[in-house]
């Protein structure tokens, strides 16, 4: 609750701040300050489960350890994102404080989407998440790529909204209780009525769209590629993770007891996502676009949680969200500093900027899922959950084979950084402040810490 309200308020603050802030660098401090505030408040709620604001939401939101933990992770990742890439937000355009305001609104949407309890709040949350993102995608107005990305994102997003609404409508129609509450769909163990089935497929599709699962992923590469890199970093991590949280909460609470009837669909989608994501990423020359595809591939792995739908899966998803967000934010923060976004642009980075190179290596190893990094633990949880579920073992084998493919493209960057030479400077040094390096090192350290003790996060769920 705290998070929702405070993010909304702080968004407004930032919005008005736009009028008063003279210097371009001011908004960042405010944003960081506000975010820290919100984070504290949220942690307080996580610990006590007693929000500061006692708003009667008529049970339309539901707060528990799970989604509060996620919100905490989302907020902390955003904080890290601000600290690492905040200065780059200022380069996007001149409405800096508006950008921050929009980011706060997105966070508000994230919090709602993570805590929704009725289809309405789900819908609202997702919309509140999406609409600011359309703007941020297009925020580099002179850049036609950015425009194109915004248009595609918007049209396809609206399309998926339509689908989602259709789904909601059918669910409502099929629900004899005539309620939108996800834990009141009134499904028995038996075969679900056709209306529900149709609605479920529609909802599944729209959620798959939000988490960019194949074959509804097409917007992802173009949007991630076109939009300003800072915002790519944000929406590829926090927003996507929120989508997954919404996804799993919806399907666990609403359709959990008829899982067997839709598990096949998820299996198909997962396999397709893994295959397309990994396969297409192999070919990419631009690191930015490659990371876009890799985010699809990672989504494929996260889908295993929805496939498995057990406690292990939920722990794993939280862990995955954290690990994936940390690593991706880190690698994007480094990518932004590069002069050239192609893989060759990384040539010889190890010589010129060893710290960047080494931390980048940690991030990439984590994304690949090498032991001792958080990435391994999260993938490990996913596989564990999927196998525990006991259905469709082929999917797990398939997943690990795809993970092997993923090593192929992640290590291309490592090779470029360490084993190739480059004469001209690959990054402009004045951007690289000592604080930036230290923050990178801290991020890498976090990743490794999580890699050794995933319990640091999972304990939050069970304490």
């Amino acid at each position: 609750m705290n998070a929702i309200i405070l993010t909304a308020i702080w968004g407004v603050v930032m919005m008005f701040g736009g009028v008063f802030f003279k210097r371009k660098s001011t908004p960042l401090y405010w944003a960081v300050a506000g975010l820290v505030l919100i984070l504290i408040a949220n942690c307080q709620e996580l610990v006590t489960l007693q929000p500061l604001f006692d708003v009667d939401v008529k049970d339309m939101l539901h707060f528990d350890k799970f989604n509060l933990t996620f919100i905490t992770i989302a907020l902390s990742c955003t904080l890290l994102f601000f600290l690492l890439s905040g200065r780059d937000i200022e380069k996007v355009g001149e409405n800096v404080s508006e950008y921050f305001a929009l980011l706060f609104f997105v966070l508000c949407g994230v919090s709602i989407a993570a805590t929704f309890n009725t289809l309405l709040t789900l819908f609202l949350g997702i919309e509140i998440m999406s609409i600011p993102l359309y703007i941020l995608t297009g925020s580099d107005k002179r850049n036609l790529k950015s425009n194109e990305a915004a248009l595609k994102y918007f049209l396809l997003g609206a399309f998926s909204t339509g689908i989602m609404l259709m789904g909601i409508a059918f669910i409502y129609g099929g629900n004899t209780n005539g309620s939108f509450f996800i834990n009141n769909i009134g499904l028995g163990e038996g075969k679900m009525p056709v209306l529900i089935a149709v609605g479920l497929v529609f909802l599944l599709i729209s959620m798959s769209f939000k988490v960019s699962a194949a074959p509804f992923h097409f917007w992802t590469p173009d949007v991630y590629d076109g939009s300003p890199t800072v915002f790519t970093s944000f929406m590829a991590t926090i927003v996507k993770a929120a989508g997954f949280i919404a996804f799993i909460r919806l399907f666990e609470n609403a359709f959990g007891n008829v899982q067997s009837q839709w598990q096949g669909l998820i299996a198909v989608i997962t396999a397709a996502t893994l295959l397309i994501g990994n396969l297409t990423a192999v070919f990419q020359q631009s690191v930015k676009r490659m990371l876009a595809y890799s985010s699809i591939a990672q989504a494929g792995f996260m889908l295993l949680a929805i496939f498995a739908l057990n406690n292990m899966a939920k722990d794993g998803l939280i862990l995955y969200a954290a690990a994936y967000s940390l690593a991706t934010i880190g690698i994007f923060a480094i990518l932004i500093k590069m002069n050239d976004y192609t893989i060759d642009g990384f040539n010889g980075l190890a010589k010129q900027q060893p710290v960047l190179a080494i931390t980048a290596t940690v991030f990439l190893l984590s994304l690949t899922g090498i032991p001792l990094t958080a990435g391994f633990q999260s993938k490990f949880y996913m596989l564990l959950a999927a196998l525990k579920n006991g259905q469709q073992h082929w999917l797990v084998i398939f997943a690990v084979l795809c993970a092997a493919i993923s090593a192929y493209y992640y290590f291309k960057i490592i090779q470029a950084m360490f084993f190739k030479e480059s004469n001209d400077t690959v990054v402009n040094e004045q951007d690289i402040s000592p604080t930036f390096k230290i923050l990178l090192i801290i991020t890498a350290a976090l990743i490794i810490a999580l890699g050794i003790f995933p319990t640091l996060i999972t304990d939050l769920l069970h304490s």
């Binding site: 008529k58 339309m60 380069k91 996007v92 709040t121 609409i131 056709v194």
Partner: protein
């Protein structure tokens, strides 16, 4: 069949016809007008279902505000049949039509299996759609969504501003 049926069929035909024309007509202005017709038809359905509030809101918000907005934009860009980008690849066109129709058939076929036949819809009477009930529900149970939707509007507003505001300085380089 009674008046209700007649009205139902009439409005349905109107809505679908309008919708088809929206898709079909070359000139954007025409499609907008057809879409307005469709919305009116839908509002008619709402009235038929005795959802008066929604009927009104639909006309005001959709047919009124939104569509007018569209119209303004189209006028502003003065788009017309000539400036309309033609669908170059015919295959995509046919593929689109086929896909849409098969989607329709699929869902219809699926729903025919479900025996919703005996499920009736309450026409004309029933006071759930009346403004006072909705108002009660909206401002008691649905106060939170109502409030939070303000965030939506705020962000939309900021967005519109940010997007359409003139940049004084040219942004450079890759961001």
């Amino acid at each position: 069949m009674g008046v209700t049926e007649i009205l139902f069929w009439f409005l349905s035909v109107l809505a679908i016809g309008g919708a088809l024309m929206v898709v079909a007509s070359k000139n954007p202005v025409h499609s907008i007008l057809y879409l307005i017709i469709t919305f009116f038809a839908i509002s008619g359905h709402y009235i038929l279902l005795n959802a008066q509030f929604l009927a009104i809101v639909n006309i005001i918000v959709y047919a009124g505000a939104i569509m007018v907005l569209f119209l303004f934009v189209v006028m502003l860009m003065n788009l017309n049949a000539e400036s309309e980008p033609p669908q170059k690849s015919k295959y995509l066109l046919y593929a689109g039509i086929v896909a849409g129709c098969s989607l329709l058939l699929l869902i219809v076929a699926a729903l025919r299996k479900a025996d919703m036949g005996k499920q009736l819809v309450q026409m004309k009477d029933g006071d759930v759609g009346l403004i006072n009930n909705l108002g009660k529900v909206l401002f008691t149970d649905y106060v939170f969504p109502f409030e939070i939707s303000s965030v939506l509007f705020l962000s939309a507003m900021i967005g519109a501003v940010v997007i359409s505001k003139k940049e004084s300085i040219k942004t450079t380089g890759q961001v």
